[in-house]
Amino acid sequence: MDLLVNQFWALTITGLAIGAVYALVALGYTLVYGVLRLINFAHSEVFMWGSFAAVWVLMGVGATNASGMGVVGLLVLGFAAAMAASGLIAIGLEFFAYRPLRKRNSPPLIALISAIGASFVLSEAMGLRDKPFAALGLEGLQEYVGRPRENLPLPRLIDAKPVFAVFNYNVTNVDILVIVSALVMMVVLDQFMRRSRLGRGIRAVAQDPEAAALMGVNRDRVIRITFLIGGIMAGGAAMLYLLKIGVTRYNAGFILGVKAFTAAVLGGIGNLRGALLGGFVLGVAENYGSAIFGTEWKDVVAFVLLIVILLFRPTGLLGESLGKARA
């Protein structure tokens, strides 16, 4: 309890930072759920692939000891790589794992099986990434693909330096970077969904797929774009995760995916602002919980919170679906 009081601001701000990552990944779950009523179980692997893309590109350009504008450029490069990779994987996922099912009008649970299968494939492909290179005899790439089941660290980009103090906690530049970039991404997405033509199309499909089709919305295209947007958000989350945590590995997505999905449900699945709120609430509550009960109970606190909230608000904190959000 003392720990909670003494470290209150430290816990709050680091909680917000990790919560921002949860929220960005949660957006992917929530968007797809809103449009397809489907738990996209493989979304966590989309995130994981984005994190690897960022690390590889930054390793490739030799990103260490940069300064000033160089760091900004590298950060932008890292974000771009992660978002591009995640976006592509997300579209591929939709094309190979979900589109064939939709064509056949499969029962809903079978999509979950396809998602589980795709999740296995994506994470194992990363866990076996040395095999094809070894077969081709490309030994020079050991640095990138060697020891595929181990952690792969992000090259040192920026050191965490205190910028200003909130009461007794020194907020670092990494904290600010993570929280601010996440917020910017979310505001952009929110405005996109509310104001753009495509955003209106997505909301229309979420609300009533058949009526939307009658009104001339191309459902397949909307679904593809929804996956793309979810993937881009997951890519951004991957880069922020790397800045905060520093390493990634082939199964890094799993636990994070469970947390992000929890955040999406907590805020009200299908609701974009709910995902944001859910992510922050989850990140902060976890930190408080681990201060009170000890770090080993952190995940228990997260899940108990989820269950308690669902008992009293069965559709999440904000509990409004994507389709009902007004422009």
Partner: protein, 376 residues
């Protein structure tokens, strides 16, 4: 696909024409054959890289899990992503009672484990089953993970190292059965490797397999009784349309809770089996990924068909063991297989037969529709 179906249909028709006693005899022979599998070691079925009897034991144990989860998902239509939690509760109850904090004989510990998991199913179900659909999935996922973390962080339950020295069931050594080995297609009796009937040892998994198989058969029978009773009909009604069922006077919540608790108890039983076979258990044995695998068994097999889920469980356990030589790549292939199955056989391997009532209802609806158009 249809050629295969016609083939099986033809066989079924032939068998149906046989006299009753011959049918029973054939069934008995089939069951006996399944019992003798680890003794016979049939060439194509047997696993070369891991002990065949152990693989068979796992198949039987996970079949039990699949039957239990089938009640929850297939009959009652509740998506439970935390089923491994009940499996863990069963295993740890046996561990605590027979090794860590007591020395209660297994024959008593098993029913207690089932009772404890039944109660835990009610405790978890009572607050959560009011939540509908996909929310239930994440809540149960959370519960499964909470159980694992509680096991991991409670020293009284052994913490991360878990519980060791869980005893095997009591043995009555009566006679020895030699195994059969194969060279090419010729069978030899191998007098060196024998199985003692009925001695449970760590080395020999065959008696454990017999125990597990016996439990599977008993549970299958009870499952059949339940599905064909008033309870089974109530589950079906709740699954198809909860509001309509409620209006017809089915207390849907109580029946959902019953399904949840029954499923939990069966999961606990298989957990107990796991504990006594392994001899040691730790929280790592019960990670979320197993829940996912369990759900895969039920959906792959065809939710609601007990033979379907059993064959899916056997396949999903046996295939990775059979292809162990692929080592690392087998989970990748497993994922690809799941995706292919979802695309090409979305109703599962053996979809449940539509119940007679469902067919009648559809026919009546069709008639009404036709009459309607005739009048216009």
């Amino acid at each position: 696909m249809s050629a295969v179906r016609n083939f099986f249909h033809a066989i079924r028709v032939r068998l149906g024409k046989l006299p009753k006693w011959a049918q029973i005899l054939l069934w008995a022979l089939a069951v006996l054959l399944v019992y003798l599998l680890p003794i016979i070691n049939p060439p194509l079925l047997t696993t070369t890289d891991s002990d065949f009897a152990s693989v068979l034991f796992s198949c039987a144990m996970y079949s039990l899990v699949a039957i239990g989860l089938n009640i929850v998902i297939g009959y009652a239509g509740l998506l439970d992503l935390g089923y491994v939690g009940f499996f863990a509760v069963g295993a740890f109850t046996v561990g605590v009672l027979s090794s860590a904090h007591g020395s209660i004989p297994l024959l008593i510990a098993f029913p207690i484990a089932m009772a404890v998991t039944l109660v835990s199913g009610v405790l978890l179900g009572a607050p959560t089953l009011r939540v509908r659909g996909d929310y239930l999935a994440i809540v149960t996922l959370g519960f499964g993970e909470i159980i694992r973390l509680v096991l991991l962080n409670t020293q009284w339950l052994g913490g991360a190292s878990g519980i060791a020295n869980i005893p095997s069931p009591p043995s009555w050594a009566i006679f020895e059965i030699p195994h059969i080995t194969w060279q090419g297609l010729t069978a030899f009796v191998d007098l060196e490797t024998t199985t003692t009937f009925l001695e449970f040892t760590v080395v020999d998994a065959v008696p454990f397999y017999w125990l597990a198989l016996t439990l599977v058969l008993i549970v299958l029978f009870l499952d059949w009784l339940m599905q064909n009773s008033r309870v089974g009909r109530a589950w079906e009604a709740t699954r198809e349309d909860e509001d309509a069922a409620e209006l017809m006077g089915v207390p849907t919540f109580r029946f959902k809770l019953l399904a949840f608790a029954t499923g939990a108890a069966i999961g606990g039983l298989s957990g107990a089996l796991f504990a006594t076979r392994q001899g040691f258990i730790n929280p790592d044995n019960f990670s979320i990924i197993y829940s996912v695998l369990f759900v895969a068994m039920v959906v792959v097999g065809g939710q609601g068909n007990r033979w379907g889920v059993v064959s899916a469980a056997v396949l999903l356990i046996w295939l990775p063991e059979k292809f162990r030589f692929l080592a690392d790549g087998r989970y990748l292939l497993f994922g690809l297989a799941l995706m292919a199955l979802a695309i090409f056989r979305p109703q599962g391997l053996l979809p449940p037969k539509r119940s007679v009532r469902a067919k009648q209802a559809e026919e009546e609806e069709q008639e009404v529709l036709e009459e309607g158009t005739a009048r216009v």
